[in-house]
Every structure is written in C-alpha cells, then in structure tokens.
C-alpha cells in the first residue's frame, strides 16, 4: 500500500504540478463558492438537511464520475501528445503503481474535495436518509467512480505516438448523455427514499438496488483494472486473452441473466428475452473488438505454422483468428440465450432460426474486422470503408422499411429483426430462410478475401523462409 499510494513517484509528480498555490487556491475558491451557494439556496427549505444532502450528492457525483474520470482519461493522452510516454513506459515501476499513480495523482484536488464532501454528506444525511441507506449510497458512489476511472484510463491507453492532443470525443458524448441520466437517477433514488423502497430480483435473491449497481460497477471496474495492468505490461497485445474474453463474457452473461431472468418470468416475456439477446450480443461484439488480432499477429503465427499443408494451415489459422474466437464467444452467447428463450417460452424453431441469423450477422461484422486487421498494413483508410459498409448494413434496411412502409424490410438489419420480432411475431419460415440466404451471401465475399489473404501470408512466409535459408 505504501508503494502504491504513500510513496508512489507518479502521485508525487502530479502533486508538484497540480498543487501549486495559484492553481490550488483557484480550485478551492470555486469549490467554496459552490458549497456556500448550496447552503445559501436552501435557507428556508422544508427539509433543508435532505435538500442539501441531495445537492451535495449531485455535486459529489459530478466530481467523482465526470471530472475525475475525465482527468484520468487525459493522463496517457497527454503523455503521448507531449512525447513523454516513452519515459513513462520506461519507469521501473510496477503496472499497479502506474495505474494507481495516475488515478490518484491526476485527481488529487478532486479527491480532496470529495473527502470534504463525504463529511458534509454524512452530516446532512444522518437526520433524513438513515445510516444503512447512506452506507449503500456511499458504496455505490465509490464503486461507480472506480468503474468510471478504470474504464476511462483503459480507453485512453494507446502506445502509438500521436502528435496532437485529441480529446476523447466518445467519452465526452457519453458524459453528455450521462449527466441527464445521472440527475434522473438521483431524482428516482430520492423518490424511492434512497433505494429503501426498491429491491431488485437477481435470480432468486432480492437485492437492494444500490448494492446491485455497486456489484455490477465493481465487476466491470475490476476487469477494466485488469485490462489496464495488462496494457501496461503487454503493451502491444490485444486487451483480452482468449481465456479473459471467455471469462469476462461468462460473467456478463451470468449477471445479465440474473437481472433479466426474473423479469422474463414476469411480464412482457418476448420483448425482455430479445432485449437480453441484443444486450448480451452487444457485449460479445465489444469483446470481439477488444480481442482483435492484427496482421502482425497472423504473421507471427505463420512462422509457427511453417511447413504445414494448405488445409492444415487454414484450419490452424482459423482457430487462431478473430473469427475462431467469435465462434467461441457466440457459442457462449447462444447457450445463455437459449436459457432465456426457454424461460420466455419461445419456440425452439423460431429461437434457432433467429439465432442463426444473428450468428451470420455477427460473423459478417467479424469478417469485416478480419479484413481490417489484414488489410490495414496496406491501407490506412480501410477502417473508414469497412465501418461505412457496416453502418449501411445496419441502417439501410430500417430506412427502407420506413420509406416504403414495409416493416418486413427492417428484418435485414439485426436490430430491425429484433424490433420486428417484438412487435409483429412470428417471422414466417420463408422470411427466415430468405434472411439466412441474404446473410450467407453477405459473408461470402469477405470470407473469400480473408482466406485469400491468409494464403498470401503463407506464401510470403515461405518466400521469406526460403530467402533466409539461402
């Protein structure tokens, strides 16, 4: 602990720069003004302690979830843009020291204010909120803050040298949408007497909502932290190992099914079932992006496969490839989706048919990723082309369905298919067959190109080996 926080040089480095009197007092002045304002506007309120508590809580969340996450995410970006990242990488500190050093060091001022806010929260909470709810609330605030900080740090780690400081637009947009959701959530919590009235079923257990949110945030946060450590140690490798990808997905599926399962047995079975399918498929896609093996990886693998016959080479390359992992991930997804379909009472035929369409749809995405990985050394812009194709594939059927006022057209897009199934079930057999044919046709061209490229790698490897031998 002493090495991680007390004697961590990175924290000291940020203390030097962020705690200069001029800067510090500027932040302190803003903080004091905000706190005084909160106290001032609540003079004469009906229950002033609860009103002040709510407002300080929002202030606290803005500091911990928005400001500190944005500080954390800027750390590596700044190192990269300022051309100091090589020095940072060379520091003989453990990956844990680096990760904690950034998350704490970058937020020294924020943490100081957070500490004072916690004291204020406790003071104003005790009369109105109650001890148990307060503890649950604080655990939730800290877990989500941990999650937000680890995810934002992880998303900012890139070792390529970049010349200019580019803002993390995705993160900013996310935050922009998060703030209204955050305020709404706080309003909801306030109305439910800080979660006292709301319990959530998780499989057969009834869990307070705040603790469930905390657990999910901790699950994601811990994986993100493990990802940071991996990225600091194995910089050039993809975020997920095969085992990591499978374990993370299994955990997500267990959590999602635990939350959604009891709902399926309750109300709108079909809609919730398909919401679970799409939600968990989205996680599968995210993992696929985090586990992308690039051309370099295939090239390295080709050395190990030297001397193998063509079919054996292709088989082993497939097992090693992004497509191979995709099949594995999809199998796990299919297993959990089958459980939810059974709970929802969906017919095996319909569930199987839709799963097959979704598998092909997902494989189309994976094949596009594969093309990106293989062709990127030749063309930097291949990503733009491939992502445009994917956007067209997702959006065009929906647009056509609206333009021609024909709902069945939207089934050509996986999201459209789910919407259609929720609104107008069931899909006729002929429609399902047509969709399968359409998706198989979509996958053929990229699959052929991928195969060709793997064979080209094999030929090039043989050529290089021959040259080396001679």
């Amino acid at each position: 602990m002493k090495k991680l926080i007390g004697n961590n040089p990175i924290i000291q480095r940020y203390r030097f720069s962020s705690m200069r009197p001029k800067q510090f007092w500027m932040y302190a002045a803003v903080y004091i003004i905000v706190v005084l304002l909160l106290l001032f506007i609540n003079i004469g309120a009906r229950v002033p302690s609860e009103a002040i508590f709510t407002q300080i809580l929002v202030f606290q969340l803005l500091i911990l979830w928005v400001w500190s996450a944005s500080n954390t995410s800027s750390a590596i970006r700044e190192e990269n843009a300022d051309q100091t990242y090589d020095f940072f990488r060379m520091l003989p500190l453990s990956a844990h020291q680096k990760a904690v050093g950034i998350m704490v060091g970058k937020n020294l001022v924020a943490l100081l204010f957070v500490g004072i806010n916690f004291v204020l929260l406790i003071l104003f909470a005790l009369p109105s909120v109650g001890f148990v709810q307060l503890v649950q609330l604080l655990i939730m605030v800290l877990s989500v803050a941990f999650c937000a900080n680890t995810v934002s740090l992880l998303s900012s780690i890139k070792i390529e040298r970049r010349k200019r400081k580019s803002g993390n637009i995705l993160l900013l947009l996310l935050l922009l949408f998060m703030i209204p959701a955050l305020l709404g959530g706080i309003g909801g919590l306030h109305n439910s007497r800080w979660g006292r009235d709301v319990g959530v079923s998780f499989y057969i257990f009834e869990i307070p909502i705040l603790l469930l949110i905390s657990s999910v945030a901790l699950y994601v946060g811990c994986w993100a932290y493990a990802g940071i450590i991996r990225k600091f140690i194995k910089e050039k490798e993809c975020l997920f190992t095969r085992r990591g990808a499978v374990l993370f997905l299994l955990g997500c599926e267990v959590i999602l099914l635990g939350i959604i399962g009891p709902q399926i047995e309750g109300g709108e079975r079909l809609e919730i079932n398909y919401a679970f399918w799409i939600g968990s498929l989205f996680v599968v896609m995210l993992i696929s992006f985090g586990a992308i093996r690039t051309y370099d990886n295939y090239w390295d693998k080709s050395r190990m496969l030297g001397g193998k016959g063509q079919s054996e080479f292709l088989r082993k390359m497939f097992a090693h490839s992004n497509s191979g992992l995709a099949i594995l991930l999809f199998s796990i997804w299919a297993l959990f989706s089958a459980i939810s379909a059974t709970k929802a009472g969906t017919s095996a035929f319909e569930a199987g048919g839709v799963m097959a369409v979704l598998l092909l749809s997902y494989m189309f995405l994976v094949l596009l990723i594969e093309l990106w990985a293989l062709y990127r050394p030749d063309s930097e812009n291949i990503g733009v082309l491939l992502s445009s194709i994917f956007v067209v594939y997702i959006a065009l059927p929906m647009i056509c369905a609206i333009m021609f006022d024909k709902d069945s057209l939207m089934t050509a897009s996986p999201f459209g298919l789910i919407i259609y199934l929720c609104e107008e079930p069931p899909l006729p057999t002929s429609g399902l067959a047509l969709l399968l044919v359409y998706h198989i046709a979509l996958c053929i061209f990229p699959a052929v190109k991928v195969r060709q490229h793997w064979l080209r790698i094999r030929e090039t490897r043989e050529l290089v080996d021959r040259e080396q031998g001679s």
């Binding site: 480095r13 520091l91 453990s94």
Partner: protein, 315 residues
C-alpha cells in the same frame, strides 16, 4: 561477459524487416556509434535494447537479464533518450529530476546532491526553478540527459541526441558525452550525421537496411577496409616531374591532385607500394620531405562501406 548481447535479433513489421538477424555485443566502457541512413533500423534496434519493443525473434540480454522476461530489472539500469521526446512541461527542472530520481529508487539522502550534480553537468543550474515549458529545444535535450544522469545508469542508449540542435548546443552535448565516456560509462549512440560521432566513439556499428554490415573498433574497421589508401606526398620542388614519375610507374597508384605543396595519390594494395613510391622518387633525385597516409575518418569509412553494400545487392 558483454553488457549488451544481442544474437539473431530480428524485428518484423508485417512483411517489412526493420532489423534483420543482428548480432551485437557491447562491452563495459565502450562508446558504440550506430551509423546508418534514415530507415536503416537504428531506432528500432535502440528501442528493442531499451525494452520498449519486443523483437520478433532472437535473444537479447542486457546485464545478463533477458529483455522480455526481466525488462523491469533492465529499465532500472539503462538510460534511454528517444529520438523525439519532451519532458513534463508542467514541472520545474528540479521537480522533474526529483521525479525521475524517486522513480528509479535513488536513495532519498542522495537525491539532492544528484540533482545539483546533474544540473551542473548539463549547465542548467541557473534554470533549476524554471518550468520546463520555458526551456529552448537545446536545453530540453540537455535536460533529457540530466534525467538520465540523476539516476546514474551504467548504460546510455541515445537515439539521435543531437538532432534539431543548433551548433552551440551540439558542441555542449558532445562535451557532455565526452565526459561520460571518460568516466567509463557504456554508451550506444545513434546518428546519421557522422561528424557528430567522429572522435569520441571507440566502436562503430554501421547499419544498412536492417543489418549491421560492419562492427568493431574504428581502427579495426579501418584496417579491414579494402580499396585505395589516400597518400599525400610532399616534395620540395619538381612537383610535375614527381607526378609524371608516379603516373608512368608500374605501381598501382593514381595521382588525384597536385598542389604547390603536395601530390595526392590513391594507392591500391598493401603499404609496400607506399614504400616503393618513396624509393622511386628518391632514386630519381626528387626531394621528398614527407609521405603520409591519410587516415579515413568515419565519413569516408561509412561512404566506402555503404557503396560496397549497394554494389553487392542485386539490382
């Protein structure tokens, strides 16, 4: 045991081979100049030695530690200065040096003294409390060296340390490197500007298209060089007669220049031909008062070797 020992080192970026099966051994106290044109693989090699890049193949150890398994141990003992770098602009010079000293576990009691010495070494003592963002490029480059000096590594890996510096800053940098080499530090320094390295490298490794085409001490490489030696002959008078005598002899000598003070020749083959020239001139009553073999500097060696390489490669 070599401090740096690279065997069969290879780095591939897709089908591009940046470093091709290199063997390189560097002993304690050597100052090795990595010379080669842009794209020869110098930066890749240095980044591998600095543990920032993983080789595709081959074994590299620094101080006996494997660069892939024990990279943290290696990072503690080497000082690497990248080709393009900056320092933490929001820190003062002293704070920056303190940060590096602490990160590299310099004894707290020693840190103050080390900072003073490092700033003194790079002649930035008067800027101690200035923010790094206020330094000139040359000062940042020297400050970069100071961040290495403050932790006193045994090996310095310097990638084009003089690039972008004005002549005065280059001279200052050379002086610092000279001091370090006189203290017995091991230095591997890359450059594509040969004059930067002449005079203070004990060894050179000439890189060409990812390979080290020559490696050894400057004298060894010079001695192994085949081809013409440049010999200057000074005679009291009769310059033209002396030049004609040489031209008309059977010796493998070409007269390349005649000036009022000397005749410059290129002699192919061994030194016995230089002795034969002397004998020929003296026998013909030419008053020779000096006959000297011009030692090729790094630039000549590099040019000769790289043109050899070009010739050997298939078109």
């Amino acid at each position: 045991m070599s401090i740096i020992d690279a065997r069969g080192l290879r780095k591939e970026y897709g089908t591009l081979i940046a470093v091709k099966d290199i063997d390189l051994q560097v002993e304690q106290g050597q100052v090795v100049g990595l010379i080669g044109p842009n794209g020869a693989g110098k930066t890749t090699l240095l980044r591998i030695l600095a543990t920032l890049l993983r080789p595709t193949r081959g074994k590299v150890s620094v101080f006996g530690f494997d660069i892939e398994k024990d990279y943290l141990q290696i990072r503690k003992q080497i000082g690497y200065l990248p080709d393009f770098f900056n320092l933490y602009n929001d820190l003062t010079l002293e704070e920056c040096l303190r940060f590096f000293a602490k990160s590299y576990e310099v004894d707290s009691a020693l840190i103050g003294g080390r900072i003073d010495a490092a700033l003194d070494y790079v002649e930035l003592e008067d800027k101690r409390n200035d923010l790094i963002r206020n330094l000139s490029r040359g000062m940042v480059q020297r400050m970069g060296l100071a961040t290495l000096l403050v932790r006193d590594p045994d090996v310095y890996l310097l990638d084009e340390p003089a690039s972008g510096l004005d002549p005065k800053a280059r001279i200052q940098l050379r002086e610092i490197l000279r001091k370090l080499s006189s203290e017995g530090k091991t230095i591997v320094i890359s450059s594509h500007i040969l004059t930067e390295l002449s005079g203070f490298c004990s060894h050179i490794a000439i890189m060409h298209r990812g390979q080290i085409v020559r490696h050894g001490s400057v004298d060894e490489i010079r001695a192994n060089m085949e081809g013409a030696k440049v010999v200057s002959i000074s005679v009291l008078d009769q310059h033209e007669e002396a030049a004609d005598l040489i031209r008309n002899s059977d010796l493998p000598v070409t007269v390349t220049d005649i000036s009022s003070s000397s005749i410059t020749t290129e002699v192919r083959g061994g030194r016995e031909h230089i002795a034969s020239i002397n004998k020929l001139l003296v026998q013909n009553n030419i008053k020779v008062y000096s006959l000297s073999e011009d030692k090729a500097d790094l630039e000549d060696l590099y040019m000769a070797i790289s043109s050899d390489q070009e010739e050997q490669e298939p078109a």
